[in-house]
Subunit: 339 residues, 4 copies
Amino acid sequence: MIVAMQETATEEQIQQVVEHLIEMGFSVHRSTGARQTVVAAVGARVDFDIRNLEVLSGVEHVHRISAPYKLAGRSFRPAGTIVEFANGLKIGGEQVVVIAGPCSVESREQLFATAERVAKAGARALRGGAFKPRSSPYSFQGLGLEALKLLREAGDRFGLLVVSEVMEISQIAIMLPFVDIFQVGARNMQNFNLLRELGKVKKPVLLKRGIAATFEELLLSAEYIMAGGNYNVILCERGIRTFETYTRNTLDISAIPIIHKLSHLPMASDPSHGTGIRDKVAPMARASVAAGADVLLIEVHHDPDKALSDGAQSLYPDQFSELMDQLRIIAPAVGRTIA
Amino acid sequence: MIVAMQETATEEQIQQVVEHLIEMGFSVHRSTGARQTVVAAVGARVDFDIRNLEVLSGVEHVHRISAPYKLAGRSFRPAGTIVEFANGLKIGGEQVVVIAGPCSVESREQLFATAERVAKAGARALRGGAFKPRSSPYSFQGLGLEALKLLREAGDRFGLLVVSEVMEISQIAIMLPFVDIFQVGARNMQNFNLLRELGKVKKPVLLKRGIAATFEELLLSAEYIMAGGNYNVILCERGIRTFETYTRNTLDISAIPIIHKLSHLPMASDPSHGTGIRDKVAPMARASVAAGADVLLIEVHHDPDKALSDGAQSLYPDQFSELMDQLRIIAPAVGRTIA
Amino acid sequence: MIVAMQETATEEQIQQVVEHLIEMGFSVHRSTGARQTVVAAVGARVDFDIRNLEVLSGVEHVHRISAPYKLAGRSFRPAGTIVEFANGLKIGGEQVVVIAGPCSVESREQLFATAERVAKAGARALRGGAFKPRSSPYSFQGLGLEALKLLREAGDRFGLLVVSEVMEISQIAIMLPFVDIFQVGARNMQNFNLLRELGKVKKPVLLKRGIAATFEELLLSAEYIMAGGNYNVILCERGIRTFETYTRNTLDISAIPIIHKLSHLPMASDPSHGTGIRDKVAPMARASVAAGADVLLIEVHHDPDKALSDGAQSLYPDQFSELMDQLRIIAPAVGRTIA
Amino acid sequence: MIVAMQETATEEQIQQVVEHLIEMGFSVHRSTGARQTVVAAVGARVDFDIRNLEVLSGVEHVHRISAPYKLAGRSFRPAGTIVEFANGLKIGGEQVVVIAGPCSVESREQLFATAERVAKAGARALRGGAFKPRSSPYSFQGLGLEALKLLREAGDRFGLLVVSEVMEISQIAIMLPFVDIFQVGARNMQNFNLLRELGKVKKPVLLKRGIAATFEELLLSAEYIMAGGNYNVILCERGIRTFETYTRNTLDISAIPIIHKLSHLPMASDPSHGTGIRDKVAPMARASVAAGADVLLIEVHHDPDKALSDGAQSLYPDQFSELMDQLRIIAPAVGRTIA
């Protein structure tokens, strides 16, 4: 930590800062220049609020030097994390893994028709909502357990892993027998009680970035899960909220190379939620792979015009196949392959 | 709902839209001008996704006419909601109610010393965290049940209502005997499972706006609680995330008159979290009252330099007293009083 | 400047950073802790790009310590700047100065009717657009020179200073004989050529914050004017762009106490542009004074329903009078007066 | 335009709205449903302020139906605009055109060394600043006319078009003999006087999106140029300002497919300014081409460590060559080629 003192700071004020830092367990180094004094604090502590120094008299600015997360940081595993599954699939390796399926599981017919098509086109995992977070209490809220059973059955039938969203602690035990990856949605990225419980689970977690979450906050949320012992976390960009309202969100493609630099965790991109409009999904999916994404989440529905949720952002199966063909052209440009 | 067709839309495309709307249960009116056709759909349904129309061919734009919330909207109770408590205190009435206290309950000594001071200065309710949502898993997480007991005891001693934050469904039953108002934090504004459970509780809920939540989303979250039968919801502005990073958040004072127009629910302002810096709290508290806030939440600590959390934004008791004096000058300008 | 090295940085990399800093003219202090090395650079230079250090190998983060502006910073004039006018009016002193008038000058009748009403209610300066920046090329663009003459005449008649917006260098000479304060609009806050020319003028400049400008950028733009010798700069908050689209902009009331801390320049607030909706102007004007604003800009039109621009955000003269009465109640709470 | 009346609106209020619309020249259609009345106004006028209707009593919301721009809209030229140059180069055609070069022209040696390398690697145009917009008045401001001469000479030598930024009206005439494309920077996107003058010029204009500009505002600014008769406008995404500060800006890749849908104008992407960090430029350049960009702007410097401006975001010539090779793999996925 660096504390820059005001030009007018007195010796007494500087001493007060130095003592405060020493009390917090830091080693302190002091630099005095023509205009101002700077106090550098070096130490191992990550848990402190820099504002407690900022309010001391004579202090101009305080800068945190080291990241407040440890397990999620790149230096914890410089070579990068590869999440492996029982069927041999690896996330974070050479292959870009595509997870596809409907927004919500609506019926056996819908799920199986969609699963068959996406598996054939090259998807390796099936997504589908069983419990749905909806902004309005009057919207369809998901089929629950019935949906989980269908997902497992369809996954097994077509050789796909199963990914579904967990919204609440009590759902973890219900979902555990059916899913391969727990998804945490953007609205729950800072539901710390939920994250802590997922840290005790033995299955990977796909953690979506909140719509107004900084990279540091995303990595701190991953840290909550990892601190419990579950190191198989996959991060996911799904769009941030900006001043522009033409699209639901602005998919921040730069999150992909940035997270790859800051963290060892695999990075996914969700262009379906990130744009909310069908004809923007393919361009942004291509952009994600070109930028280095490890995983893509794509909403596909066998009949999107009749979807109970998010039909407007779901691809038709033929569009998904065409997209997969384009991605197979792009992946080699970044040294990757696609199934 | 209004569907504006493209200038080049064919008669067939227009018919498809009309049929789609009728199927959804709307009455349809069609207007054809020199340049384009507009289809107006009027009806009582609030639960639909306008994007399902936007993706139909020939459609240029779709505009939602009516708000997607009902119970939280101003027209549900044009005269405004007043939340009444057993001790006679009213929130939403002529008196501006000030809720004050420490960020976290840390000890009996801290809580009682602070409570005594804020009560004397004119606060009518005591706030204090028992369960703390912290961005980092390594930060202080709150004293839990012990804190709740202390809050109740201090509240009773000094004639203050008790407000504390609930983060998780299982905490509702634990908190119920001790608090007068359940606070839902910004990070949980869209924790829909939690909101739904709070709809079944017989105590008021203070619902904070998420840092990236629109007014519509805030009111939809209130709707989740109200749809369960609990109409005693108090909304709270506590700062939104903008491009400016000088302060933790940007306290959106305009939320106060806007929510007062859109909704009948009382509106609170939290300048402590909204700025994150002690010397900005008083100016923003004054601004909130001048803009018409019904409630203020102010963090006060009897010894902020030693606070375990958010000390940097907590007022000293003397600063709080001085602020209350300033607010007493301002309140009459908006036809209000302060205790 | 502080350069925090990566934990894995080599001695050679650290030396490279040190040499780079010395070459740039800084005094260098080095602190080595258990985990990492920190290099502090102290010196008088303000003109450098910290990213040139960030890209050196082994560097983790670079933090700027001192503000990149000098003349605009609080330490340049700790007591604060008071801008004085020939008629004795002072901006930045005890009195809160209210500038009022129509968005655009449309006719003699409109301007004089409005000026008379605002003068009577307590305004001390008259605002009115002669040259208008309009997002659409098809909108009303202002009356130009004719408007300037009317402004001067009305100002003199009713004892009001004259404020009008300059959009382009060639307009400075045209406006100089007619205005008392040059206003620079939000869209031109970083029109550096224009700012530089205004630095050579002997009349005060009211500089509006851009809708996406940080406080640092606003102060750097003031620095452009001041570097030319014109120290009479008044800053103005007029709303920033956020994710919320209910209002045109989000008026950032916290800018008032923040700028007062960072700079010695007087601070204005423009709730008319900051909200864009008539019934939000009064609450935000009251909030601005309660937060410590030195100046208010309020759009008033004698007949807003017929205004050629921004009628929807203009107050009726009676509303303005009522607002002034409210402000007279509030001002004493912050030790101020209003005419 | 659609005017949705409040549920409680009276017949008189509805009539007032209808009359107001007719007075404005619209054809009016009225739809009355169980809950509310909706008034649709259809007409050719684009120049009006919808807020003038919003403030009428009884009005709930007003929605603009048609875009406020005409010449820049897709329907004006459904097949898309191709900008052609004397040397046969086409922008907006099958070939993705790469514009490369240093941020600022610093010296003959620097410019020629860089130009030779980028031409060899496949760039078709040379960029370089002669007049520089700098946030700080103390930063390097460009070589001016000398830089323009060098750019022209280097362009001719290596077969590259010349692109440079114009900041001010008086620079247009100076630049005209030397440049092939006038660039308008993000800070000047709403410098309407400058745009209007560029509408009279016979050379193409590359117009950058402001850091807080909506797509509609960008297209309205293009409209200013086109309304003057200059239809050769190229739009450019260069990063928007969001809450995330890890990168200078957030490059909004989705702007590419969105602008392609809304407008017929070619769309460029500038990943150098859009990220501000060298190692993020290549991923975002690849993403831009994968998303369908017509043009790329890339900062390249023969010796970035010594650059006078933006060295930290400039590629080394070898990095640029490697990037071009990657882009040649990606372009066919979107049916494009690269030189």
